[in-house]
Symmetry: C2
Subunit: 429 residues, 2 copies
C-alpha cells in the first residue's frame, strides 16, 4: 500500500496518521516483517477456532485477596544501583523499567526507589509526625489522627535529581532505557494538604523555611522554602489508591510536586519551621550542581523539562523494515508538557508527536508517533517543550552549563542509534 | 472556635470550607475527640525530638525488584463472593475494598474480579487473537504482534453489571462498603484501538455485531454492537503501566469503557463479526434485567450514574462529635460526573460536594465534603448527576423499575445510618 509522505527524515509520519486512516495500520503488518506471518496465520484461522488450549479444559485458579503479576512477566522489575552494596546494601537506588511499561501511571511495585540507609520497617502505631520550631503551637500527629484529616489527590511524577546520571559518563553506557532514566515514576497521590496542618500549627512571621526529616536510619533531611510548602505540598498517605508502600515512605511522606525527588522526604517524622535553610548533608556535599567555575548551585529545586523515547530503546531489536510506533514519556517541573518532537536524523529534522490526554501539570505525559523505518541507520531523539516555553537541551548544551563532575538535573535529549541490522544503542550527540 | 453555618441539615458544611480557611481545620481537632490528645502530645514535643525509634538505629531493608504493601496493611484485601465454592472455587467475584482506599485509581492487586470458571494460566507464547466472520480477511494476532501495534491509553472504570446486588435483598446486608459496592474499579488502560484492527480485517457491510470470546474454561462470550467496537473500544494490554494481571485478562482483554463489566471479555481469544447477536448464556439466562411485567431487557450495556460514600461507611465507627470529611466515589457510563450532593438527613436537605480534578469521562471521580457531626442520629446519602443530566435514583425508585428478582444495574443511593454512639450501618430508605 501507499504510505503518506514523511513529515521528517527517515520515515517519521504525521502524528495523526494512525487515526485518520492515512495508513490503515494494515501497512504496519504489510510492510513489516510480519507480512508473511499474517497470511499464513489467517489461512489457519478455521483450525484455530476448533482448538481448545489446555487452560480452557478445566477450571482456572480461584480468587486472591491481593493479586500479583503474571509469572510470565517476572523479568519486568526494577534494576538496582548499589555502589556500596557490601557495606550498605540499602543505600543506592532502584529504577523503574520504563521500557517495559506503557501509559503514564507507574504500578506501585515498580515505582523507583532511592534510599540513603535502606527501607525502615515502621510500625504505624508507633510513628508520629511532629511540627515544631517557629510555630504558635507545636503539633504531634499520630498516623490515625492524620488519616482523619481532609484529603486532596493529584497525579504527578517524582524524579530523583540524579536521574539519568549514567549519561554524564564520558562513554555512553549500554543499559536499558529504564536503567538509565528510570529514576522517575508517576502516581496518583492522596494525602493531607501541608498548608492545612501548617495553618493549624500557626507559623510565626519570621518562619520562612522548614526542615523535613525522615524516620530512616539516615534521618534524611532537606530544607524547603515555606512558599512551596504552602503552595502545593502534601503529606502523602496513599499511592494509586492504597496506603504507601514501605519503600515509598510508609506510613507517610512529604510530596513536593515537580521538585527534586529527595525533597519529598519519605517516612516523614518531623517538620521544623526555621528562618532559613540548615545546610544539611543532602543540600551541601550532595544534591548541589557543580558549575564550570567550580562553584556549586544550591537549592535548585524544580526538575527541568525532559523526555525520553521508551519504545524503541536500547537493548530492543527492530523487527525489520516497516511501520512502528515511537512512544515515550515527557515531563516538566514547570507545569504541563505542550509539545514533544521526534527526530530520526539526530536533530536535523523534527516531527511533532501526539500527546495522550489528559495532559496534567507535573505529571508524566505519553507521546506517540508513527514511523516507517526504511532500514537505514538512524539516530532517534525526542525533545520536549513545556508551558513556560522551556525546551529540552542537547547533551552538548547541557554539558556546557555544568562542571564535568555534576551528576544532577541531567535533562539532555537521549539519542538511540538504530543500525541497519536493527540493533539499538545509547549514543551521544 | 466558630464554625460556618451548615449548608444542609445535621452539620453538612460548604464544600470549600476546608480550603477557604472558613474552618481552619484546627476545628477538626478542637471540636473532635482528639482535642485532649492534641494538647497532651504537643506538650510532649520536646521529648519526642530526642527519641530515636528502633527503625532509625540500623540500616533498613535493601532494594526489591517488585515491591509489596506494608505488612501492617495485610487486612486491605479483596473480599470474596463464591456461591458455589465447593463445586466451582473459581466461579464468583472478589470485591475491591473501596472503604480502605483513597483517590480514584485502583491498585492492580485490588482490582475487582469476576470469573465464570476461575483464572486461566495462559502462556502468552501460545495465545493468539482471531478475528473472523464477516470480514474481508480473517486475522490472527500473536501477542507479540499485537504488542507492536500503535497504542492508546485511557483512565476509566470497569463495573460489573451485578455490582451492589446485595442491596436488592429484602433486609440490608451488614457488610463493608467494598463488600457491597466493590465490583467497580478504575485503572489507566493501554492497548490497541479495536477500530484499528477491525479496519485491518475489513468488516463486511452486513457485519453489525461482533461476538467476543475469552480463553477461560467458561469460554465467556458476549455480543457487542459494532458501533461501540468502532467507537472507543480497546484491546487492553497494560493496566496502570504494567502488563495485565492474570485475573484481569492476561495477556489481553477487551475494554468497553462505561459498559457492563462482563462485555469487556478477559483472556480475549476471538472476535467473530456477525449480522446480529448470538444470544449467548450471559445475555439471556444471565445479565438481563427482569422487569415488573415479567419480561427481561437485554443488551442494556451502559452502566448508570452512581455514587457511594466510602468514608465514613458501614463497619467504621465515628470518633465522637466534631469535624469529619465525607468522601466517596461517583461515576457514570454516560460520561462525566457533573455533581454529587450529600445529605445527612436521608435526602431532605442536600449539600454539594467538591469534585477532585481531573474529572474524566467514564472514570471514577472522588467527591469530598466537610461535615460537623453533632452526635445526633443521621442518615448519610450521596446522589450523583452526570453530564447527560441523569440523576441517581432512590432505592424506592430503582425497585419500582424492575421485578423483585432483578440483580443487575443497581444504582440506587446508598444510605448509611450513624447512631449517637457512632455506629454506622447499612439501611434502606
Amino acid at each position: 500500500m501507499e504510505l503518506p509522505v514523511p513529515v521528517a527524515d527517515h520515515g517519521l509520519l504525521d502524528r495523526r496518521a494512525f487515526l485518520t486512516g492515512a495508513i490503515h495500520v494494515a501497512g504496519l503488518v504489510a510492510v513489516g516483517s510480519h507480512a508473511g506471518d499474517l497470511v499464513a496465520t489467517a489461512q489457519a484461522a478455521e483450525s484455530m477456532t476448533l482448538e481448545t488450549p489446555p487452560w480452557m479444559q478445566g477450571p482456572g485458579q480461584p480468587f486472591r485477596g491481593y493479586g500479583q503479576p503474571a509469572k510470565y512477566e517476572e523479568e519486568v522489575k526494577r534494576t538496582f544501583f548499589q555502589p556500596y552494596k557490601d557495606i550498605a546494601p540499602g543505600s543506592g537506588a532502584s529504577m523503574t523499567p520504563l521500557h517495559q511499561l506503557q501509559g503514564t501511571i507507574t504500578p506501585n511495585g515498580l515505582h523507583f526507589e532511592r534510599h540513603h540507609s535502606g527501607v525502615p520497617d515502621i510500625d504505624p502505631a508507633q510513628h508520629a509526625l511532629l511540627i515544631h520550631g517557629l510555630v504558635r503551637r507545636p503539633l504531634h500527629f499520630s498516623v490515625e489522627a492524620l488519616l482523619r484529616y481532609p484529603t486532596i489527590s493529584r497525579i504527578c511524577f517524582v524524579e530523583c535529581s540524579g536521574n539519568s546520571f549514567f549519561n554524564v559518563a564520558a562513554e555512553p553506557p549500554q543499559k536499558s532505557c529504564g536503567a538509565i532514566h528510570g529514576l522517575v515514576s508517576c502516581s496518583e497521590w492522596t494525602g493531607v494538604s501541608l498548608a492545612v496542618v501548617l495553618e493549624e500549627a500557626g507559623v510565626d512571621p519570621q518562619g520562612k523555611w522548614l526542615v523535613a526529616e525522615g524516620a530512616d536510619a539516615a534521618a534524611m533531611n532537606r530544607s524547603i522554602p515555606l512558599v512551596k510548602a504552602l503552595d502545593d505540598a502534601m503529606i502523602a498517605l496513599y499511592q494509586n489508591g492504597e496506603r504507601l508502600r514501605p519503600e515509598q515512605g510508609y506510613p507517610m511522606r512529604l510530596l513536593l510536586p515537580g521538585w527534586e525527588g529527595n525533597t519529598s522526604i519519605k517516612w516523614l517524622r518531623r517538620l521544623t519551621i526555621t528562618e532559613g535553610p540548615v545546610y544539611s548533608r543532602e543540600e551541601t556535599s550532595k544534591y548541589t550542581d557543580l558549575m564550570p567555575d567550580g562553584k556549586a548551585r544550591q537549592f535548585t529545586f524544580p526538575m527541568a523539562v525532559k523526555s525520553v523515547i521508551t519504545h524503541p530503546s536500547a537493548g530492543m531489536r527492530m523487527q525489520g523494515k516497516g511501520l512502528y510506533e515511537v512512544s515515550g514519556l515527557a515531563w516538566s517541573g514547570a507545569g504541563r508538557v505542550t509539545k514533544v518532537e521526534v527526530s530520526a536524523d539526530g536533530g536535523k529534522s523534527w516531527a511533532e508527536a501526539a500527546l495522550q490526554a489528559p495532559i496534567l501539570p507535573l505529571a508524566l505525559t505519553r507521546f506517540r508517533l508513527p514511523w516507517n523505518w526504511d532500514g537505514s541507520p538512524v539516530l532517534l531523539q525526542s525533545r520536549a517543550t513545556d508551558e513556560k516555553g522551556n525546551v529540552q537541551t542537547t547533551r552538548e548544551q547541557w554539558t556546557a552549563q555544568y562542571s564535568a563532575g555534576n551528576v544532577y538535573h541531567y535533562n539532555a535529549m537521549q539519542t538511540w542509534s538504530v543500525s541497519p541490522a536493527g540493533e539499538i544503542k545509547n549514543v551521544y550527540l
